[in-house]
């Protein structure tokens, strides 16, 4: 890679207390991984694989015990975690919207925290509503409980983008949505990623989603990074678990190809 990586994990490890008397759990174990500028990386793994922990380490929602983690070339331990989080967009599972803030209040929160003047925030909110394809007049003053799941996640994406971050972290952002909404939102985000020149790290347990959206995929299991690379590189991995993960989408694609006529009429 010609440019230095925007995010780099070097032999990073993180353990948690197993609770009363139990042994410590190594949630992330000696992981080294680089994310290049402009790249869309998906981290795939099952529950307990350590993928969410890895993502949280990147904006210091939790701190690593071992190894070194750099963001935009700087060691995160040297950075103020609050400032770091304000310059990294974060999309939470099922939105994580503040129920007592309106849509505009949710989207504008990070600019407000950094002291952006209200009229600029207001203009930025309108711009972001356009970007995530929500009607300004209709949605600006609504509250989260008045929105559908897909609309909430669009607001979540807009909120992550509000402070114009270079990096966006996404924690299973589309997991709780119905397939049609999920597909549309995935495509829309992929387009935003390209258009805004973002660097995105997305967590998912769904290999199909990872294959369709990401440039590169990293596979985690039991705290370890098993493999990483483009879909083509992964398919040559000798790891049996990676092979298992790839088999499902492949078989689904073959069966769907056979079941659905070419003209798409269902």
């Amino acid at each position: 890679m010609p440019t230095p990586p925007l995010i780099a994990f070097a032999h990073v490890g993180k353990s948690f207390d197993g609770g009363r008397g139990a042994a410590r759990v190594r949630a992330v174990n000696d992981v080294s991984l680089e994310v290049a500028e402009g790249e869309f990386l998906a981290i795939v793994g099952g529950s307990g694989s350590g993928k969410t922990t890895l993502l949280r380490l990147a904006n210091r929602l939790i701190d690593a015990d071992e190894g070194r983690l750099t963001v935009e070339g700087e060691d995160v331990r040297a950075l103020d975690p609050i400032q770091l989080r304000r310059r990294i967009g974060y999309v939470f599972q099922s939105g994580g919207l503040f129920p007592h803030f309106s849509v505009a209040g949710n989207i504008g929160i990070t600019p407000k925290l950094v002291g952006t003047p209200p009229n600029e925030i207001s203009a930025r909110v309108d711009e972001l509503l356009d970007l995530v394809r929500l009607d300004r007049a209709l949605y600006r003053d609504r509250f989260p409980h008045e929105l559908s799941g897909g609309q909430r996640q669009r607001v979540g994406v807009a909120r992550a983008l509000a402070a114009k971050p270079r990096i966006v972290l996404m924690d299973e952002p589309f997991g709780a949505l119905d397939p049609l909404t999920r597909d549309a939102l995935g495509d829309d985000y992929r387009e935003l990623h390209r258009q805004l020149g973002l660097t995105t790290v997305m967590i998912t347990h769904d290999m199909t989603e990872a294959l369709l959206l990401a440039d590169r995929i990293a596979v985690m299991r039991a705290g370890r990074l098993l493999a990483q690379g483009t879909p083509a590189q992964l398919s040559h991995s000798g790891d049996p678990y990676v092979g298992d993960l790839l088999r499902t989408p492949r078989r689904q694609a073959e069966r769907l190809g056979a079941l659905l006529p070419r003209d798409g009429a269902a």
Partner: protein, 519 residues
């Protein structure tokens, strides 16, 4: 005379601005103090299990202490603190009335506020807390912009509970010298003035309900994010507080403060003293319903100016004497002892209100009992009743020692019900008061204390240290000294217990003055 044309309603209404204003003042201050302490404590302890448990445990224990006891405990505590502060820093403060009431009520308000604040904050969704962190909030921003707003409806419910508790419990601050709506209730219970009791209960209930409804409006506004409702509730509370406080501000107690303990005779005598002082050109107000030890300490601390006590009570309770002396000697010694504290024993009113063993005339004659010594032989088969303090007083120990008295059963009762209980045969003997009009009314007899086990109980007028050289005050009270004979006082007490329009302490005091002044 119908129930509502009773003149006592009008009299009760005349007291309302003073009682209600003071009640609101003490409640609002206590609640504000309670919130100012509880909210930061709850916020600080919310994520620390050990302090949180300790705090909630402590607040729960406070809640189990009966309100009256909690209030009463604060008085001696503050008195000791005031003495310490005076000797260490040269700054004294009044441990009487407002301060102990506010502190006790504030403590009382803490549990619901602490519990609901902690519950509310812990109830905030962990995903929302993570989002607050994730968008770059500092812990402080997360607390004020996310956690507290989301916990607010639950917190408001706690504040409502606290407000209602404080308003209700504030009625119990009367005995420690804080005027409140409880003045109606305490005075009413003692003088059998049910109009007052009812009026006091209704006023406190209406106040509590009004505050509860206004706070519930704010709570609903917070829940439904309706600024209009929050504003309406807030304005309503502010108006209520201002409307009740302003009239009472205008009549802050000034001039001579006359104290009274919690029984009818004391209400009558304090009304009589206040009337005499006003007639002599003083401005005077009464502070009624004070606990027996509170009233003496308040006088010694210059918080009240004058009240009537009884020689034997001071002898036994205040100076812990177990011996008994002839009246003149006892009075002389008491006068010297009181003077050492700067208190002036102005003189005797002329009657005694002593404890005495009392039984029905019929039974006494049938058994041939005339004195306590005669009673001793029959006592093991009899039951006895007395007020709440008698059995723990030195007089009772003295009686037992002098006559070897033991009863089959001992009961404690509200003094007003004691005489009727004796008359109906429910109990055989009671420890009555010699000046009580009910003795004659129920045809009871006082048994002779031939061995003088009970000390004399001359009614005496006491002046606070700061009034020691107030000659005008002494002159104004002089016409009362030695003028109130036992027969007049008994009849006055009987009138005060009459339960009609002529039975208010003021009316009875006027009657008493006419009777003794006419001679």
């Amino acid at each position: 005379m119908s129930f509502f044309s009773d003149p006592r309603w009008g009299e009760a209404l005349a007291h309302l601005p003073d009682y209600l204003g003071n009640h609101v003042r003490v409640s609002v201050t206590a609640l504000a103090l309670g919130l100012a302490v509880s909210l930061p404590l709850a916020i600080a302890a919310r994520n620390r299990p050990i302090p949180r448990g300790a705090l909630l445990g402590l607040a729960s224990i406070v809640q189990t202490v009966p309100g009256l006891a909690l209030l009463a405990l604060f008085y001696p505590l503050l008195l000791a603190l005031a003495a310490l502060s005076l000797s260490w820093f040269g700054i004294g403060f009044s441990a009487f009335g407002f301060l102990p009431a506010v502190l006790a009520l504030a403590l009382y308000s803490m549990l619901p506020v602490l519990r609901n604040t902690i519950t509310g904050l812990q109830g905030v969704d962990a995903a929302i807390l993570e989002a607050a962190q994730g968008v770059g909030m500092t812990p402080r921003q997360s607390l004020f912009q996310v956690e507290l707003p989301l916990a607010l409806p639950v917190m408001m419910a706690g504040i409502r509970t606290a407000a209602v508790w404080v308003i209700g419990t504030a009625t119990l601050s009367t005995p420690i010298g804080q005027t409140s709506l409880g003045n109606y209730i305490f005075a009413g219970l003692q003088t059998q003035n049910w109009v007052f009791v009812l009026f006091g209960c209704l006023a406190a209930a209406v106040l509590a309900l009004a505050v509860d409804q206004l706070l519930s409006l704010i709570e609903a506004g917070v829940r439904g994010r309706s600024r209009l409702r929050v504003a309406l509730g807030g304005v309503g509370i502010a108006m209520l507080v201002v409307a009740t406080l302003v009239p009472s501000m205008a009549r802050l107690p000034s001039g001579i403060i006359v104290g009274a303990k919690t029984f009818a005779e004391q209400y009558v005598l304090s009304a009589l003293i206040a009337q005499r002082l006003r007639a002599a050109g003083f401005s005077a107000s009464s502070r009624e319903g004070l606990g027996s030890n509170v009233v003496f300490e308040a006088l010694a601390a210059d918080d009240i100016d004058v009240y009537v006590d009884y020689s034997g009570t001071l002898w036994a309770n205040q100076f812990h004497r177990t011996d008994s002396k002839p009246r003149e000697e006892l009075l002389a010694e008491l006068k010297t002892t009181l003077a050492q504290q700067g208190i002036t024993l102005l003189g005797e009113l002329g009657f005694e209100n002593a404890y005495a063993l009392v039984m029905t005339r019929r039974r006494a004659e049938a058994l041939g009992i005339r004195s306590i010594a005669d009673l001793a032989a029959h006592a093991p088969g009899m039951s006895m009743a007395a007020d709440y303090e008698f059995f723990s007083r030195p007089e009772w120990a003295g009686l037992q020692k002098a006559y070897g008295l033991t009863f089959r059963a001992q009961r404690q009762m509200q003094p007003d019900f004691m005489y009727a209980a004796a008359a109906s045969g429910e109990v055989d003997v009671i420890a009555g008061y010699t000046s009580d009009g009910l003795i004659a009314k129920h045809d009871l007899v006082v048994l002779d204390d031939t061995r003088r086990a009970i000390p004399p109980y001359d009614s005496i007028v006491l002046l606070a240290p700061k009034r020691a050289d107030d000659h005008a005050l002494k002159a104004a009270l002089a016409p009362l000294l030695g003028r109130i004979d036992i027969a007049s006082m008994r009849e006055a007490n009987l009138r005060a217990a009459g339960g009609d329009g002529e039975s208010s302490p003021d009316a009875v005091a006027r009657w008493l003055w006419e009777r003794i002044g006419a001679r």
